[in-house]
Symmetry: C2
Subunit: 375 residues, 2 copies
C-alpha cells in the first residue's frame, strides 16, 4: 500500500477468516471492521461523539450524496469530510456507483460516463471515472473507491459481464486519474453471481494494482447462500496482504459468513435504518420495540451492553417510539451501532483466540432465538 | 418547606433579583434556574446525558402528556419520572392545567372538574384537582403543581376573575388531597393582566401555604410589558423565603426581565422547538441556520460556547438542515439548551457580584444585534 497506509494480518483461522489492523493517515483500526454510514457526513440521528462511543473506528460517507449536497467545494473547504463532520479517525467514500444505479433517474451508461438526473432536483449530472476521482479527492476521505457499474440482480449473464468489463475499464481510468498520494484507492470486483466473471474481475483488478479490493454488486437481493458463493469465487483471487471490503453488507449473519470467507471490512445502513424503525439487534435476536410485550419490561435491550440505550428500560424505549419522540430512533440507532461493533469484536477475538468456528456457531445459534417470545 | 426541601437566597440585587439554591430530595440546583422541557419524559432530540452536559440542573415533565402516554402506572413502576428517563437530578411536573386548555378538545370546566377529550385519540378524560394530585404523585417528580384554570388572554375581566377564583378553590383541594411527603407542591397565581386579581390570588395562595409559588397564565400572547406588569403586581405579595416560578417563559429578554422582577425558576420549550426549526440563540442574537450566508462559514455558532454543536462550523450545521439530517435539530437543540443555561449562569453571577443591572444592560444590548447582518 502507499505511504501512510498499511494492512497487517495478525491472525487467521484455518478457513481464512482474518484479524488484522488497517492503518491510514488518520489512525489505525482493528479488522474485521464495520463502518457506520454517514451518507451526508452525518450518521443519521447520532452525534459524532456518540458514534465514537459505539466503538466504531472508521466511518463511511457517500460521494454521490455529498456531491449533490452540499457539494465537494464546501467539504473541501472544511478540510475534508472527517473535519467537516468532526470525526477524528479514518474515513472512506463510496464512489457513487451504487447510488447512481439505485437512486438516480434516467440513468444512461456508456463507456464514457454514467449520465443521470439528480434524485434531489432532477438536474442533469454526468459522472465519469475521472470526475468521481476528482470529487472524492476533494471530499478527502482516507480511502476512495473506483467508480463501478452496478447491475441489480438477477440479471442476464450478458448484462453482468458487460457491467463487469466496463467497471474494469473504469478501474484503469480511476487509477490513472487519481492524484492524491495521501488517499488510498480501492478497486471493486464485479461479476454478479457468475463465478468465472468474479474470478476474471478479481484477477484483472489485481493486475492493475489497488491499495485494497472491494466486492461490489452484492446485497442486492441475491440471498445469503448466493452471496457466500460469490465471495468464494472472488476472495481466493485477491492478495492476502491487502484489505478486502464487502460493500453494503449487511445482516449480522451475512457479516459472520463473510468474515468466515475472508472479508475484512463492512458498511451497512441497517443499524441506523432499523433503529429508526424501532427494530433493535441483540445477541439473542431482534426486538421490535413497539410490541405490547415491552410496555412494562424493566430490562435493558441487552444485559451487559454498555450503550446509552441500555441504561434505559425497554418500557421507556417503547414509550418513546409510541409517543413519536426523536429520542427513540436516536437511542435505538446507538444501540444497534454498538451491537455491530460488539459483533465485530467477538469475531475478531474468535480469530485471534483460534476459536473462530466455535464463536460463529455460538453467535448464530443465539441470533436465531426470538427473545420476545422467550419472555 | 417540607423536610428534604429547602430554598435559600444567597444574594439579592437592590431591585429584588435573587440568586439562591433550591434543594430537593434529588439534589440542589442554583437559581435562577431554567428547566428544559421533557414533555413526555424526553427532552426532544437530546439524550439525557447530553441534557446534563448543557448545564441543566432540573427538568420539567408534563403530567397531562404522561397521563395519556404511557400512563402514570408505567412511570410509577419505573420508580418515577426521573428514573424512567434516566435523569439523576430534581424534576417538576406541570399539573396539566395549561395543556387541557391549550391542546385538548371539547373542554368543559366546572368547579368539580375539567372535562375534555384527549388530543391523541379523542377519548373522554375528567381531571379533578384530586386526580391531578394522584397522577402527579404516581409520576413522582420532586415538585408537583396544583391544577389551575388557565384562560387565554386577552379575556374579559369576568372570565379572568372566575378562573382565578376557581384556581384558588382547586388549590385548596390539591393541598388537601396531596399525600406524598417527599414531593413539594407549588400553588399557581392566576389573575391575567388585572393587578388586583393577581394580588388577591397571591395573598390567598400564601394564606393556604405552599412550598413554592408559580405565576401562571402568562406567556400566552400578552407581550413583554404586560408580563412584567403582571409580575410586579404579584411578586411583592409572595414570601421571600419560597421559590418563585414563572411558568412557560420564555424568550431570553423575557427571562432577564422576570429575573429582575424576582423570579427564580423558568421552563420553556423554545430552546428545543426553535432548535428543531434551525433557529439558534447566541449572546449576539439569533441565527437562522438555513440562510445562504452560512454556506461557507467556518465559525462556530458562538465563540467560547462549550456545547457539542459549537465544535462544528455553521457551514456543517446549515448543511445538516438543508439535507434534512436529524443531526441538525439535535445539535441546534443542544446549543440552545446550553445557551439558556449560560444565560441563567450570567444572571446569577450578576446578582452575586452586585452587578446585576450592568449585566442585564450588557446582555440586552448584545441580544439586540443581528450577527448574520454584521458578517
Amino acid at each position: 500500500m502507499r505511504p501512510g497506509f498499511a494492512f497487517h494480518v495478525d491472525a487467521a483461522s484455518p478457513d481464512g477468516a482474518r484479524a488484522g489492523v488497517l492503518t491510514t493517515p488518520h489512525g489505525s483500526v482493528p479488522t474485521p471492521l464495520f463502518m457506520p454510514v454517514a451518507t451526508l457526513a452525518s450518521v443519521k440521528g447520532v452525534d459524532i461523539g456518540r458514534v465514537a462511543e459505539t466503538g466504531a473506528g472508521m466511518v463511511l460517507a457517500n460521494a454521490y450524496h455529498l456531491h449533490l449536497r452540499p457539494g465537494e467545494a464546501v467539504v473541501e473547504q472544511a478540510g475534508g469530510v472527517a473535519a467537516f463532520m468532526g470525526w477524528n479517525g479514518p474515513t472512506l467514500t463510496d464512489s457513487g456507483g451504487f447510488q447512481v444505479f439505485s437512486l438516480a433517474q434516467q440513468v444512461r451508461v456508456t463507456d464514457a460516463a454514467a449520465s443521470f438526473r439528480s434524485h434531489i432536483d432532477g438536474s442533469a449530472v454526468e459522472l465519469t471515472p475521472e470526475a468521481s476521482m476528482r470529487i472524492q479527492e476533494r471530499i478527502g476521505a482516507d480511502v476512495a473507491m473506483q467508480l463501478d457499474h452496478v447491475v441489480p440482480l438477477p440479471a442476464p449473464r450478458e448484462a453482468v459481464a458487460d457491467a463487469m468489463q466496463r467497471s474494469l475499464r473504469w478501474a484503469e481510468r480511476c487509477l490513472a486519474a487519481h492524484r492524491r498520494r495521501d488517499q488510498a484507492l480501492f478497486g471493486i470486483v464485479q461479476g454478479g453471481l457468475e463465478p468465472d466473471l468474479r474470478e476474471e474481475s478479481a484477477v484483472a483488478l489485481c493486475r492493475l494494482g489497488f491499495d485494497g479490493y472491494a466486492v461490489g454488486g452484492l446485497s442486492v437481493g441475491e440471498g445469503p447462500e448466493a452471496m457466500v458463493a460469490a465471495l468464494h469465487a472472488t476472495v481466493p483471487h485477491l492478495p492476502t496482504d491487502r484489505p478486502r471490503y464487502l460493500m453494503g453488507v449487511g445482516q449480522p449473519r451475512d457479516i459472520i459468513a463473510a468474515v468466515a470467507a475472508g472479508i475484512d471490512m463492512f458498511d451497512c445502513v441497517l443499524p441506523t435504518r432499523c433503529g429508526r424503525n424501532s427494530l433493535v439487534y441483540t445477541f439473542d435476536g431482534q426486538i421490535r420495540l413497539r410490541n405490547a410485550c415491552h410496555a412494562l419490561d424493566s430490562r435493558p435491550l441487552e444485559e451487559g451492553c454498555p450503550c446509552l440505550a441500555c441504561r434505559h428500560s425497554r418500557s421507556y424505549l417503547r414509550h418513546l417510539f409510541l409517543a413519536g419522540e426523536m429520542l427513540g430512533p436516536i437511542l435505538a440507532s446507538i444501540h444497534n451501532l454498538t451491537f455491530y461493533q460488539r459483533l465485530m469484536a467477538r469475531l475478531r477475538d474468535g480469530v485471534v483466540s483460534g476459536q473462530f468456528d466455535k464463536v460463529c456457531l455460538s453467535l448464530l445459534a443465539r441470533l436465531g432465538h426470538h427473545p420476545e417470545n422467550a419472555g
